[in-house]
Symmetry: C2
Subunit: 136 residues, 2 copies
Amino acid sequence: MPNITINHIAVVVEKIDEALPFWRDALGLPLSKTEDVPSEQVQVAFLDVGESHIELVQPTTEDSGIAKYLAKKGAGMHHICFEVDDIEAALAHMREKGVELINDSPKERNGRRYAFVHPKSTGGVLVELYERIIQT
Amino acid sequence: MPNITINHIAVVVEKIDEALPFWRDALGLPLSKTEDVPSEQVQVAFLDVGESHIELVQPTTEDSGIAKYLAKKGAGMHHICFEVDDIEAALAHMREKGVELINDSPKERNGRRYAFVHPKSTGGVLVELYERIIQT
């Protein structure tokens, strides 16, 4: 049995402030973190749900990838991120199975290794992989 | 702290058989159940991921709601289902907060009480609520 969990579901929104009344107040998920990510021209908010999170993503410029996605597809679910123990092993296994990867080797952000899988191999879903961080 | 978890993420696919090579074989999620649901004109497959599931949904007719969704939007994530302890209380709280519900009171299927929340209140995401079944 592989040790895989859902780390987060990313939801693209026009404005985080206008989305929080549903996700935090009406659904009741605790807001755990908000963050400005200038490198990706977005603001994000993380809400806790069991072992997973909902990540609200708001574009901060008009020409970022997320802003273009929002303009084209509208607000809604953007990607699903799974957490695995060994990201190199997971990517190697996927390559063996013929899966098309967006990131052929892991990238790193804030000490977290991650990679994206192309939606054409998943049945239309943008999938991200995170390597689990073992708390010491 | 509310006791909310993600029960499942529903993914609409053309063919479950063509999606399993990614979700089951490449990602490695165990397939726990496949089911024909004639009342909704779909076949579904559930894969386990931590405390949650991925639900692959394939239309079995050309004029079902899911078939029309697939034709219009393409394959991809369809809805996210949260599990709550008391669905009547959750719906009442949402109404108080001005959330628009698709099902104003819970429906029932296979002994499971559920209701859908309108995407216009969530920032574009179709949200389902399940009432947790207490195992005895």
